[in-house]
């Protein structure tokens, strides 16, 4: 359900950790209802880029626009309200129940008390945890925790969902559940910016893929467009990555 309306526009984004430049002039846009994948090995600058967009890092340079207006998530809480952030770590509280975790993040995200019940029920269902809603999260399997981790980022129904490697260490069953959830979210009109180093995931989920290497976006497009760029219409993502960066993704 991808539209042609631009939701997020990133231009010349750069970020330094001390003297080391982790992100080097990245430009990227995300359309409404689109899943964009940032594909690259560890250390490519994916998490740093997504952290700048999420407002976790302040001192970046470049420009960001959200629906055509200047976007400063690090300094403006109102801008962060447009985003749902799902970190790589299991950023949930094991001593709280699934319901309490969702309620906590719903409150912080400004979900009105009268809507809270319905929102929590919807997200419990989305995470497949309705039956376990009153159980402590510490008793959940890794996959269940991952699903809840995802659901906690969605409670305020954000326009753009930022996912930082959400399937790391997840069993195949839970991974499929997460994929289905992400497709459902796209179907509901949400946009997703998704980092991964799994080519299969990127190929299966993403409408467009940005290949990132050493802080730079080497190419952006659909798989077909990327394949056309290297002159091999039948090339898979691994071959495309090798051609564009001179390295195999698996070697990194």
């Amino acid at each position: 359900m991808t539209s042609t309306r631009e939701l997020l526009s990133i231009q010349e984004l750069s970020y330094w950790f001390g003297k080391r430049q982790a992100v080097k002039g990245v430009s990227l846009n995300v359309l409404e209802g689109e899943i964009v994948g940032l594909l690259g090995p560890n250390g490519a600058g994916k998490t740093t880029s997504i952290s700048c967009v999420a407002g976790l890092l302040k001192d970046w340079t470049g420009r960001m626009q959200f629906r055509g207006t200047a976007f400063a998530p690090a300094t403006r809480a109102q801008d962060r309200l447009q985003l749902g952030y799902v970190p790589q770590e299991l950023a949930i509280y094991p001593n709280l129940t699934a319901e309490e975790n969702l309620k906590f993040f719903a409150k912080l995200s400004g979900v009105a008390a009268r809507d809270s019940k319905a929102v929590i029920a919807k997200n419990l269902e989305l995470a497949g945890l309705t039956d376990r809603r009153r159980d402590l999260v510490g008793t959940f399997s890794g996959g269940m925790q991952r699903r809840l981790n995802l659901a906690c980022g969605l409670v305020h129904s954000p326009a753009l969902i930022l996912l930082d490697e959400p399937t790391v260490g997840v069993d195949p069953q839970s991974r499929n559940h997460i994929f289905e959830t992400l497709m459902r979210l796209r179907g509901e009109g949400h946009s997703l910016l998704y980092t991964t180093h799994y080519m299969e995931e990127a190929q299966r989920l993403c409408d467009r893929i940005a290949i990132m290497h050493e802080g730079v976006i080497a190419a952006v497009g659909t798989r077909e467009e990327l394949a056309a760029k290297i002159g091999d219409h039948h090339a898979n993502l691994e071959q495309i990555f090798l051609q564009l960066t001179g390295r195999s993704l698996r070697d990194e």
């Binding site: 770590e89 912080l108 402590l136």
Partner: protein, 470 residues
Amino acid sequence: MNTIAAAWVLAQKDLKSFARDRTALMLSLLVPIALVTVFGWIMAYAFGGSGGMPKVELHIIDESQTAESEKLIAQLEKNSMLKAKRVALKNDAASVSGSETAEKLIRSGDAHHVLVLHNATAEGDATIASYPEQTLVRDPDRQMEDRIVQLALMQATIQEQGDKVFVDGVEKLLVKEGMAESDIKSIRGWMQDINSTFTDFFGDDEETAAENAPVAGDQPASNETPIASEESASGIGIDGLFEFAREVMPVEMVDVAPPGRKQQVTFQQAQSVCGMSVMMLLFALTSCGSVLLSERENGTLRRLFAQPISRTSILLGKFMFVFAVGVLQMTVLFCYGEWMFQVGLFRDLPSLLVISLTWIATAGAFGVFLAAVSRSSKQAESLASLLILMMAALGGCWFPLQMMSLPPLLETVCKSTMTYWAMTGYQRLLWNQLPWYSTNTLIALGWQWSWCLGLTVLAVYFYRRNYCRG
């Protein structure tokens, strides 16, 4: 969502998590209770035990300003059991007598024993006419110190007045009891024998005197039960001998105590309940403050930073959380302490609240500061153990500093700790029965608020530097 509302949501989450962690909850409540109990019992009998005695503070007001009074003061200053402190009377306050000043010192809690040396009156014996009359103004419930002060006073008086002191004293006593002058003269020889016994007993070196002296824990002065019941050859027990000696000494005793003080309250127990509470609150709140570190280590802090709330509200939420836990712990501990030892904690509830809330805020600020300044939970734990134990010892949580002879530098170090001011606040409340708005208590509260403010500013600075940058 505004900062306060967001902070409160965060604090509620932490409280819920804390309540779910039963081990942490039990440890934070039961460990202090166990320590309060153990220390309370031990301290109640501390002075009945063996070991080196700390120096006891004796304030001296010399109204007579004679060579004799100087000699007596010099003897007291030499005494290794005492820490003699001269109190100068202000020249411009001629209407305020030494006794009045002494009473004021006792009531304000600045002293527990004050010796006032008055000008000698003409009615005394010619041989001791120039010797200053003595009034010992004392807090009657500080029996631990009382025995030592009196013993030292006896020694100093005997050393200065010679062996006539007992004979004169006994004569005065017998006259007071109505014995005829002729009868007194007839037993003068027998009294000389007693005199030599007393002189041997109290007037020789301090160590022997201290060994001979009976020691007391918390028995009321007016109705003493001898602890050391060993009897001398003449059939008089050591306590009896001591009491008799006290009767004949030329020292008038004046007891000054707050009228509302309960008789069963012991300084040691009040000290233990407060000392352990003050120290354990620091441990508990430091541990609670480290939830900030846990948030960072578990990755939840990044997620919180991405929420539409200010970063300040996250830190404020931690303050609220540690404050709430502090109130819970103090309430439980004080209820238990009152039930167990009846130390009169709730006699002045508004003052208890002001003093306790001040300390909870200060200890909470310390806990959050430690979390903000540390790089990891392990670092915070090590730093907390080191700093808290040091501050507890220096601040007098383990043992009352009034009972110690500290060199000036160490005394200054002790007074620079926040635990010292917390203990001072509680001692003023429990022991001196002073309300929170008394000058001394306000000074203690002021120091704690200064600490609280300083630590909060540092916590915010280090939080921004260590947590919010990149």
